[in-house]
Symmetry: C2
Amino acid sequence: MQETHISLAHGNGGRYMRELIDELFARHLANEFLDTTVDAARIVLDSGYDPFVTTDGFTVKPLEFPGGNIGSLAVHGTINDLSVAGAVPRYLTLNAFIEEGLEVAQLERIVSSIGVAAREANVLVVAGDTKVVARGEGGGLYLATTGVGLRDTRVDLGMHRIQAGDAILVSGAIGDHGTAVLLAREQFGLRGEVKSDSTSVFTIAQALLKAGGLHFMRDPTRGGLASVANEIVAVSGHGVRLHEPSVPIQAPVRSVCEMLGYDPYYLACEGRLLAVVEAGRAASALSAMRATAGGEASAIIGRIEGAQRHVVLETELGGERILEELEDDPLPRIC
Amino acid sequence: MQETHISLAHGNGGRYMRELIDELFARHLANEFLDTTVDAARIVLDSGYDPFVTTDGFTVKPLEFPGGNIGSLAVHGTINDLSVAGAVPRYLTLNAFIEEGLEVAQLERIVSSIGVAAREANVLVVAGDTKVVARGEGGGLYLATTGVGLRDTRVDLGMHRIQAGDAILVSGAIGDHGTAVLLAREQFGLRGEVKSDSTSVFTIAQALLKAGGLHFMRDPTRGGLASVANEIVAVSGHGVRLHEPSVPIQAPVRSVCEMLGYDPYYLACEGRLLAVVEAGRAASALSAMRATAGGEASAIIGRIEGAQRHVVLETELGGERILEELEDDPLPRIC
């Protein structure tokens, strides 16, 4: 395409739209299943597995941040939802809502990142759609992705399997993504020392499945670790007790949060996995996680309790703090 | 939920978001596969069929218009893409990008319409995500839907099957949706006499599959009939000749287009189906279409030609007009 910026004509169903789709999107996302001339894409799903679907919207601001951009984030977010369900991600569909005036070069960097992240995760983008909205009716670019994956029919994971006494593990430091996005926003005037943790957790999830004793996995994105813990309490009916000194938090994340008044327990991660594992298998699960690339900083951070219905954080000083369910918005458009 | 308008807190991963999802979305879309506490939904796909996926974004303005709203439009658009591929729609995923300040009552009307349209089409919404963007960064509500369907493995449809001499049929009047949306925009100061044609074309598509001789189907949405015809020319390498007096166009659509300078051949339909059928089977295909509810006004409107590489419209006065590929945007945010 010749144009340097997206115009409304790129959304009208005519030549400009065809060029945008063929010369930008399809070029970076090409695979044997992607055909821009069909209404629906045929996919192949091996028999003997349970198919899983998941979907996510992405509105992060700024569109590019240290450690990733909205494109890599969308791929990671979607394959992570399949991964923590115990499935192997196979196919993605992609929707792009593009604001008039977006620089084509920036769009191309983002779509290129989608292609790279998809290839790294061994998933194929098989269908897509683009819409252009007028200046002032969008945030540059919003993405929506749907993922299809396959899970071994013998796997049973979920909130229903969580029991009192289970150990809670996390695959790395929390709050990196939220902090990186925060720092990337110009109005704070701070330089970004922290990179987003945006990445695939698929390898870690598979290692946990093999290690055994696994009851539940989740990626703590919007609302962070505290929100996942509160959801466990709300759905499973068990309490959650976290041991603050064991929770990995990077020093710069800690100091940025102190400076700006944020609580790292509520900040999004986009490449971390929280696992609930049978107590007797916690040590071997931890070893399995630490043996994966990206899981080296994994830690046992707490346990499931039967006696109470809160998320309790045992502080370094021996006190206790309740991590309440989030009421106000700490950081809009973070994912 | 207690609130009358959407706030940023409805997007933060905490209590407000949970209430929005559980009390508004899940209430209207409830089915045995939808579980708001999981990351990915297990679906069941009967063996012996080819799975198909499709995805679409929706940005129509205004959000509600005579004959439908962005919610029913999203369901119809997605199941129609599966239907014209010859598949039976089974599952949907739904993404909602909601602008801060949207009236909750309006959102509820729209989500309710999604539920009604899905039930009518016998599809289940199995996964969803909501994001809230700040005032001035959205158009009220954008939706993205992905559909999963199943097709008989023996079906072979597509541009590759189109041959010179094939008949072109359409299932009803063209341009109704585009015109209805146009009239619903206040700035034109015209009353809406035209209703959107937004509906499912599944029954018509299945009737055509049974009738035999079917080579290709498409729903002429963005860019209208002229854009589908131009895509046939570009991809199949054959010409398209349309017979203007045979193309069904409602009188009010025609007069609105004349008044405002739009060409109905480029205006979106959201419930029409264009079919390319073997010449000898055109009459029986037409009968099959006319026998369906919603297909009563079906017509044979033209034929595929080998000799030229354009879309030619034979006018009522015996002249010829080339329907060029769309260059400029006739009507943004129409779907």
